[in-house]
Symmetry: C2
């Protein structure tokens, strides 16, 4: 997996950090945070925090003491141990798109089906830079609402040998995912020792944690499964209309959720989540890949490191309707900030389009090209006397060229990143080949990969046990 050994790009001064620090303390203590969940309120009451109805007013020092119990780094296991990941430090984990009700297949935009879901999962398994397909890579609308979490989890377990994410629609759904993971990894103890899932718990910003998400979180955290506590902030709508105010709110929300996890199970793995962009203040519509969202990512990295926590942000976010130039520069904006900030967990790393409403096959391919480029850009240079290739200069001579020098012949295969989507064909050749724009080429690559996909076989006994449990459980749920 990718290690980001480049410097972090940090833009907050010590003074700025001090202002933000004062800010979140004021929010959690004076305004407090709402938890629409009796179990959560009870835990906070027992821990000596001031509970007024659904509102919890915190002692900031209590929150910091809870946060200190959380691991700063941890592992997540995958079916294929080679695909195990480490979360935190310099590690970056890249996970597929999440939550889109629609798909785009080049010129066709449609409601997502389970076939689409499986095809996107195939892409996530096939691309070597992807660490996980995630969970709801798109929302399969043709499946039963009550049992589709089982179908999705089963697809992730059998079609991929990478780690997967959990379902967060309800507590019982979470319990099902945990049960299926126990079957796959050999029992409860095995997954409690090393988490097998990571689940996305969103805050209903501003300053409210909802009951169903918290139900799911209680299940996962009790089983020592990792959760990402993510404030969902479209600046201007779900937060005040400034970046510093949104950052302070984000800290208050994420840390209050983190504190709850540490009450449920001290030491349970958590990720400081960030999903922060802004709305168009004329139309109110969400924007992505904006300068403000990039700055938010850079600041979030600095803040998460301040609290010694792994963090999630970024991905290939954009608001474009198709995989056009805007999709290209907006996705790159977000992904570049993802690398500059040293993000540990990158959700929506591939496939996101149209503000997240759409999972796009061609965008999935494009995002993997961008990921490949950025992993190269964020791999430190090896600057040695040998790397200067002085002999190659002597061989080429003044005004000469280097294509045929010994040093070039020995190194040309690995010297530079080799794009699989970007084209530098000259105009004649590009025209002869059909004048295909990037989205068209990406679509061809996607469909070829889907057609050629072969799943890694799963152990027969495990598969039989899984099949039996799935059949029984789906029957119960759909009854």
């Amino acid at each position: 997996m990718f290690q980001n050994k480049m410097p972090r790009f940090e833009i907050l001064s010590e003074d700025a950090m001090a202002v933000l620090d004062k800010g979140w303390r004021r929010i959690v203590s004076e305004m407090g945070v709402e938890f629409m969940h009796d179990g959560a309120l009870e835990l906070f009451r027992q821990a000596g925090q001031k509970v007024e109805g659904n509102l919890v007013k915190f002692d900031p020092e209590f929150i910091l003491a809870q946060v200190a119990k959380a691991p700063s780094e941890f592992d997540v296991q995958a079916r294929n141990p080679k695909n195990n990941v480490h979360i935190g430090g310099d590690s970056m984990v890249f996970v597929g798109n999440y939550g889109s009700p629609f798909v785009r297949d080049l010129d066709v935009r449609r409601t997502a089906t389970f076939d689409d879901y499986k095809n996107l999962v195939k892409l996530a398994q096939s691309f070597p830079l992807m660490d996980s397909a995630g969970h709801t890579i798109c929302e399969p609308d043709d499946l039963s609402l009550d049992s589709r979490h089982i179908d999705m989890t089963y697809a992730l377990q059998t079609m991929t040998d990478k780690f997967y994410m959990g379902n967060v629609i309800s507590g019982p759904n979470a319990a099902d995912v945990i049960k299926m993971s126990e079957i796959l990894f050999g029992g409860r103890e095995a997954i409690e020792k090393t988490p097998a899932t990571v689940s996305l718990i969103n805050c209903n910003s501003p300053l409210r944690w909802d009951d169903r998400m918290l139900d799911a979180m209680f299940e996962y955290s009790a089983a020592n499964q990792a959760v990402i506590l993510t404030p969902f902030i479209m600046m201007g709508a779900m937060s005040p209309v400034t970046i510093p105010a949104a950052l302070v709110q984000q800290i208050a929300e994420a840390l209050s959720g983190l504190a709850l996890v540490q009450l449920i199970r001290p030491g349970a793995p958590v990720i400081f989540g960030s999903f922060m962009s802004n709305v168009d203040m004329q139309s109110g519509s969400p924007q992505f890949g904006t300068p403000e969202s990039a700055m938010g990512q850079l600041c979030t990295g600095q803040i998460a490191r301040h609290f010694n926590l792994p963090f999630r942000s970024g991905g290939g976010l954009n608001a474009s309707q198709t995989v056009d130039a805007q999709a290209g520069y907006e996705a790159y904006t977000t992904m570049m900030a993802t690398f500059l900030s040293g993000t540990n967990y990158v959700l929506h790393a591939a496939g996101w389009l149209e503000g997240g409403l759409v999972a796009s096959f061609e965008k999935f391919v494009m995002d993997n090209e961008i990921l490949g480029q950025l992993q190269t850009q964020f791999t430190p240079l090896n600057v040695t006397e040998e790397s200067l290739a002085f002999d190659s200069h002597i061989e080429a001579g003044h005004g000469g060229h280097f294509l045929g020098t010994m040093h070039t012949l020995e190194n040309f295969r690995t010297a530079f990143y080799r794009p699989f989507l970007s084209s530098s064909d000259n105009f004649d050749r590009w025209t002869r080949n059909g004048s295909k724009t990037t989205d068209v080429r990406a679509s061809e690559i996607a469909h070829k990969m889907i057609d050629e996909f072969e799943a890694t076989a799963l152990d027969d006994a495990i598969k039989a046990e899984l099949d039996e449990w799935v059949a029984k459980r789906k029957k119960e749920l759909d009854a």
Copy 2:
């Protein structure tokens, strides 16, 4: 003009810098640099350097002593003093595309004409973020080869009130541009006091400076006009196939040219130039917006600051054939590195397409959108107690929204960057409006700006003098 007050992103360690330092010294002293110009050779001979035919072998300390004579920052004047620019320090100057023989107007790609040239100049004058149209924003193929430098310079002087670049085809061409600038700015003394032009002097890499470019350089430097000494390096072809080797070669080439300028006129303004990308090692075709080119930019910034010199790099470079997704992410890759490295002089800031063969109207618009976003992203956050907008939180309440709070109403107009090209329209609205992709919307913006263009009037007496001189000189040249 834009000041980049964000941190610089530096990726070279002290050890790496020491290796590079040793490397360029070895190249200039052991291999030497070729100057295909008797005047240059004579100056170097007089200065005590070892001259063998066209080859000059340098004492590195001599080069450093010459470089120390160059100003680290300087001003360039424009017809409208409000458009004067400062080159060096935190300043970033954004200049149009340069040198393309073709233009693309959405679906039409054609040989560039003087009409195209004037239309692109209109865009450069109209976009507030552009500091200059440059010089050869495209190559007007329908004009006489002998006098088109006069036509271009005249267009730049009369249609724009921003600074402009000089012609570098020959010494006499350079002398013509200087003469025209004397007329515009009130005599030789006025332009010697503060340069009125910046000219691009490319090295014929590896390690050779050609005669015609040097002829032009002699004219400009003698008149205290700024020159950009730019190694032209496609790694793998014009340099060895590693970034460190290319960096060392770039230093040797740029500094040897800089040393010559300081012999011609000590203290004359110079810019350390960088144009560094790589070829596709399978096909040999030039690639742009690559991870290696971005890393080269970051390193170049660090190196130029080490020598206390303003530097040129970056722009909206890409290899794409149309303004599609690849054009979007490649242009952003280069432009982001331009900002991260703190580039002082950004040539090709707008319009570049197809590896520079094409100047594109829609790309010009797109690049200005990216510039606007990046200028926002590189403007430091104002993090104060007031910016946290605590009252807005109280007004919105838990689970509420901020669209109507007092703080939002007071700040929403200026809170976030407002795109003029990117669309966050929802799918229905976007479809109703014709399903226009980014290139189509950009083209509409370009043509509207061109149609509505009005030049800023030039003083009648100056214009009369200029017209008279131009008519006479063109008659001589085309005779």
